[in-house]
Amino acid sequence: MIKTLPHKFLLAATLVLSFSGLVHAQTAVADKELKAGAAAAPSTATLAAGDPGGSATGTISDVPVSDSKAGVTVTDVGNQVGQNKIAINFVWTLITGFLVMFMQAGFAMVEAGLCRVKNANHTYMMNFTVYACGLLAYWLIGFAIQMGGAAGNGNLGGLQPLNGEHVISLFGKTWGVWGTQGLFLSGHTYDVGVMVIFLFEMVFMDTALTIVTGACAERWKFLTFCVSSVLMGAFTYPIFGNWAWGGGWLAALGTNLGLGKGYCDFAGSGVVHAVGGLTALAVALIIGPRIGKFNRDGSPNAIIGHDISAVLIGCFILAFGWFGFNPGSTLGASAAGNLRIGSIAVNTMLAGCTGTFGALIFMWITKGKPDASMAGNGLLAGLVAITAPSGFVNTVGAAIIGAIAGVLVCLSVAFVESRMKVDDPVGAISVHGTCGLWGVLSVGLFADGKSNYGGSWNGVTGSVTGLFYGDASQLAAQIIGIGTLVGFVFSFSFVLNWLLEIFLGHRVSAESELEGLDLPEMGQLGYPEFVMKPEPAFLHLESAAAAAAVA
């Protein structure tokens, strides 16, 4: 037996030398194989003859070598594998981001189609301009507030420049409140990974902003819409976005308080849609209903939109873009559970489908006709509702979530109009606000614990699991998120727009509203060659005179 220290040292040294020799031998074998492979790769002359089958294109010769004298090594191959993973994820995230950007066209068509001809130019212009307003605000400061402390995402190379989160200490725990890195995407945040995440997050932000234009259409002053949208892109959206996605306190409810995996919102039922819908409610309350919307006894009048074909085509454009919205939120198609992109896409489709049926059948039974605009809203309601749970549920859960959303949107539209007496020309408050909140809640109910995005979510080991699959604490985290959306985000939006009402005024003059916003606000009719027919009696001038007398 080896008992003496020198003998033990000799044995250890022998083992280390043997192991390193083994490793060296293995490395030498690997390098020899790589060089043999490089030597066997198709030559330039072979490739010059053409490669119609593709079997000769893309070989070990395409791996960049760090030392041309040494040739291709294991390190070179490892580096290329890492680059490939990040490149795949970059391309995935960017392409899906482009799809989400295209949703702006869908929103424009849906909203304009549900408005009257005399406001078509104005409604389209709001949806067009909101892109510029939101993008500028987000580049200036919004992105920094939301994602300034979001470092650590392995899918996009780590995002290490985004390493500044302002935190507070409360009840013995640390809570993130807002980010601090990334203004103007300058300095150390001028980074390839940061650019990708900026584009992706920006198009989501713009979706939230455009929701508000629908609820306030046909009477919102273009100037105030611009200012309100800039401020929403700079502050309202990014603050909640940080709390949910940027390293903030809502996501940390799991690590800090053991509430599930913290607030979970895969693609933004809460962050995007509920924020947009609740802000829409806030502004719609302040701006007031359109002239002629309600009668003296409070009963509502239907003000019919001018182009149902635009509405339904717009809904399909949105459904198409949603394939970027939900599956794209994996932020990659390589590694860390990202192969669930197919499941997420199917969940999205299914929820849209059952949402359509939910609304269609509900309206058919209760009103006697399969209402086209509500069918479109049913599709959107299902898509909105599945947005948060899409990465965490199975197809059965997705179908149920969508179906409930389809019925919920019909009930909500009636409630908002008849009980709250809020005028929402396109149903944005119900589609995005109500169904967005339902989507957030459904994560806490239907998440099945089968997803695996790198073994953890929000820093808590394991898979997101809802009440029906055994974790009630996840439901608690979701309810706190809903409470934050209703209690904080709505209030913040209301106060901000209340201030805008004091300084700018939200509403156009009664005269402009009756004439239609196209000429007074935009200087041009949407359809200059149309011959306008007289509007129904409840929308005529005497209503405006009475309205002006009250004001």
Partner: protein
């Protein structure tokens, strides 16, 4: 009124002020950043004053005066519900208790959003005339 040149000028000034303010925040550790921040805030304030000055030119709007006091109460109740839910996170440690506080807080917030604020905003609504 309608959209005018003055609105365009004011909005342009607002964007310049916001950009300068954000640039000042970005470089706030340096002297020039502090100057930029101050300048930006001044320009923002000027733009808000411009907005306020041209607001009356819009003319009569079809919306009644909304009682500020009632709206403030509505907002306070809405926020209060949220704070109640947060307070509950600290007060109790079990999942059930925290969920109860969260639901209670949400219910209080919804009273503000669904009942008080709509009542305030519709108090002098045009359709009641």
């Amino acid at each position: 009124m309608a959209a005018t040149r003055q609105q365009g000028q004011s909005f342009g000034l607002f964007l310049v002020g916001l950009t300068a303010t954000c640039a000042g925040i970005y470089e706030v550790s340096s002297g020039i950043g502090k100057i930029g921040l101050a300048l930006g805030l001044v320009v923002l304030a000027v733009s808000l004053l411009q907005f306020f000055r041209i607001k009356p030119l819009e003319g009569e709007i079809a919306n009644g005066v909304q009682p500020a006091g009632m709206k403030a109460i509505g907002v306070l109740i809405t926020v209060g519900g949220w704070l109640l839910a947060l307070f509950g996170l600290h007060l109790v440690s079990g999942v059930g208790g925290r969920m109860l506080f969260a639901i209670l807080g949400l219910a209080v917030s919804l009273v503000g959003v669904v009942f008080i604020l709509p009542a305030a905003c519709n108090k002098n609504a045009i359709w009641k005339a």
